[in-house]
């Protein structure tokens, strides 16, 4: 009967893995600081990732579920967060005259989106809609590796491939045709901390940042998990001992 449990476990594992497989793409795999049961976020990389998002991605991609106050997780203090927020303008209102007005963003505000709505976004991008990036690392199979591969796999199309107008060749994208133009060429920005700014380095920083936006509680979750699982293991051992103790007379009388 043990087999039964193993088989069910195998079934569980097979299901989603099979469902998610894209097929024609091999992803580059990287050892991320946040993977594994003891993983944690790399604050410096996330700060660089934020800078890259602001300077490169945010022209087209929104970050709807992230508020400026959340940036405390990246190691910024209150004054720094206020300063970052103040660089943005958000619409507020209505005021006492009934009019909407623009004001500087506050820590409680979310990152303003680059387009007023999805139609405006499509109109500005050849009909393609640049998806919101808040959850992108969870909304794709093997999200972090996928994003890293996508950002670093813009290549010259093989000779016999026809690339339609407004499409680009990307080896990591299913079907290899993507509507997003190559966003990174290397040295696209100068990092505040002077770190390397090759395509690979910026991509890795963006992944670190987007893994956090997708699940800000990840680090807390894993830390809590280590304690909870350790507690439950001890509880299992102790309750096993208690069970053996209580059953001792029954087992003895049997023999």
């Amino acid at each position: 009967m043990k087999k039964l449990f193993l088989c069910l476990a195998a079934l569980m594992m097979a299901g989603p893995a099979l469902a998610a497989g894209g097929g024609d793409v091999v992803l580059k795999q990287k050892d991320w600081s946040f993977s594994g049961p003891f993983g944690s976020f790399d604050q410096a990389a996330m700060q660089r990732g934020l800078q890259a998002y602001v300077e490169v991605c945010s022209g087209c991609h929104s970050l709807d579920y992230v508020s400026f106050r959340n940036l405390a997780d990246l190691g910024y203090n209150e004054a720094e967060i206020k300063a970052i927020a103040a660089q943005y303008e958000v619409e507020d209102g209505p005021n006492d005259d009934g009019d909407m007005f623009m004001r500087a963003a506050l820590p409680a505000d979310r990152f303003p989106a680059p387009y007023a709505n999805q139609n405006a976004a499509r109109a500005a991008n050849n009909g393609a809609y640049p998806p919101d990036l808040s959850l992108i690392a969870k909304a794709r199979a093997n999200g972090p590796d996928y994003l890293y591969s996508l950002l670093t796999s813009y290549e010259e199309a093989p000779g016999d491939t026809e690339i339609p107008e407004g499409m680009y060749y990307n080896a990591a994208y299913s079907g290899h045709m993507i509507a997003m133009p190559q966003p990174l060429y290397g040295d696209d920005l100068t990092y505040a901390d002077g770190a390397e700014s090759s395509v690979e380095a910026i991509s890795a920083d963006l992944v670190a940042f987007l893994a956090w936006t997708a699940e800000p509680a990840l680090e807390k979750r894993k830390r809590t998990g280590v304690a909870v699982v350790a507690f439950l293991l001890i509880l299992s051992v102790m309750s096993f001992g208690a069970m053996r103790f209580i059953w001792a007379d029954v087992k003895k009388s049997k023999v």
Partner: protein, 418 residues
């Protein structure tokens, strides 16, 4: 009622007027349980505890959830980000559903292996099948609530199944949706029903327990208990064993919740529902995959729906399909082999259900579907006639293979009831 068995005067006062303490004493403390239950008998109590975990996390999640197409996805993200420990509640609820099904599947296959569905426990078994059906409906509607891509398209595919009903199918689907497509009215009613149905499950679970306590648990030998020498009081022997089982179960659940919370989910459900864009592959949650495979194995839509529901309906009549008087597979050499083939068959169905319905997968799915029904409709009735069971032991407390005694007593196997 011997009210005097309680020394505490308050308890005695209450029990004299409302005998709840006598009831608990009788059903939990004295309740005689076969002494030879193995770990597979832990899964019943685990299923009950899973239900409680789901209800508690579900009610707390409902406090921060908004059942509206424009806010549902965002409210779930607020739970994940802004509600204190909301991420924990949601991940427990999400993974708890999968673990609930794992536990219940093991519980069901345990019943199949040890013949727990046979007389006098037919109604106990059938109530269990009702619980399974209610669980499936609840899980399906729960998966719709986050209003991600898989939520929306899963709801569309499954509700559309009812359009296969001749003549009135289309009207029924419109009625289920509350409109002409899966939309806000659908989400609202699914939330209402998703909140209601767990309490229906609680009701049926109580009936399940009443039926269980009528004759007590079956056991790995599948023979009736013959007296106090075969049984133990439920408390403390099985309370501690269930507690140990629970600790191990919670360890696995916690490992999933804290380290692989999205492993059993589908990434597409982190994309907000978009009625204009169909995902490349619409796959249900893993626990529905075997049924999904049966649905797609039949080339006709109505036929597929009937086969899928038939796969569960057939369990209702199982006690009358398997006529063998011997319960436990331990004493049924042929049944045992076919049991394991059925297990493999169900796993194959689950595997095929996750694959696109084409080519080899479709063929394998069809063979596995046919085999599933052959097992219940042909093999079990046939085995009841042609199989020679091995001799049964005289009682649970008698050494299992009592040599000549066992042979003499049980050569004609069917002697179950003394």
């Amino acid at each position: 009622m011997s009210a005097s068995k309680f020394s505490n005067p308050v308890v005695r006062w209450i029990d004299h007027r409302l005998p709840i303490f006598s009831f608990l004493e009788h059903e939990a403390n004295e309740y005689p349980t076969p002494k030879n239950l193995n770990y597979f008998w832990n899964f019943g109590s685990l299923a009950g505890i899973s239900l409680v975990i789901m209800i508690v996390t579900g009610i707390t999640l409902a406090m921060s959830y908004t059942a509206h197409v424009d806010y549902a996805f965002e409210s779930v993200e607020r739970i994940m980000r802004d509600v204190n420990h909301g991420w924990l509640l949601r991940y427990i609820h999400m993974n708890g559903a999968s673990f609930f099904f794992i536990v219940v599947f093991v519980h069901i296959f345990r019943g199949l292996y040890y013949g727990s569905y046979k007389a006098p426990r037919e109604l106990l078994w059938m109530l269990g099948v009702v619980i399974l059906l209610l669980m499936m409906a609840t899980a399906f509607m729960g998966y719709v609530l986050p209003w991600g891509q898989m939520s929306f398209w899963g709801a569309t595919v499954i509700t559309n199944l009812f359009s296969a009903i001749p003549f009135v199918g289309e009207s029924i689907v419109t009625w289920l949706w509350g409109g002409f497509s899966v939309d806000n009215p659908t989400l609202n009613r699914f939330f209402a029903l998703h909140y209601l149905m767990p309490f229906l499950i609680v009701g049926v679970v109580i009936l399940h327990l009443v039926a269980l306590h009528r004759f007590g648990s079956n056991n790995p030998l599948g023979i009736d208990t013959r007296g106090p020498q075969d049984t133990l009081p439920f408390h403390p022997y099985y309370t501690i064993k269930d507690f140990f089982g629970l600790s191990v179960f919670l360890t696995f659940l916690a490992a999933a919740v804290f380290f692989f919370p999205n492993f059993l989910g589908h990434p597409d459900n982190y994309i907000p529902a978009n009625p204009m864009q169909t995902p490349a592959h619409i796959v249900p949650e893993w626990y529905f995959l075997p049924f999904y495979a049966i649905l797609r194995a039949v080339p006709d839509k109505l036929g597929g729906v009937l086969a899928m529901f038939g796969a569960i309906a057939i369990l209702f009549v199982l006690p009358w399909l398997d006529r063998s008087p011997v319960r436990s597979a331990r004493f049924r050499p042929m049944f045992k082999i076919f049991f394991w083939i059925l297990v493999i068959d169900c796993i194959v169905l689950g595997y095929v259900g996750a694959k696109p319905a084409e080519g080899m997968y479709l063929l394998v799915g069809r063979v596995a579907t046919v085999w599933y029904f052959i097992h219940f409709l042909a093999i079990l009735p046939l085995l009841s006639v042609i199989e020679t069971p091995r001799p049964l032991p005289q009682s649970i407390s008698t050494p299992v293979f009592g040599g000549g005694v066992g042979l003499a007593g049980a050569a004609a196997a069917p002697k179950e009831k003394v």
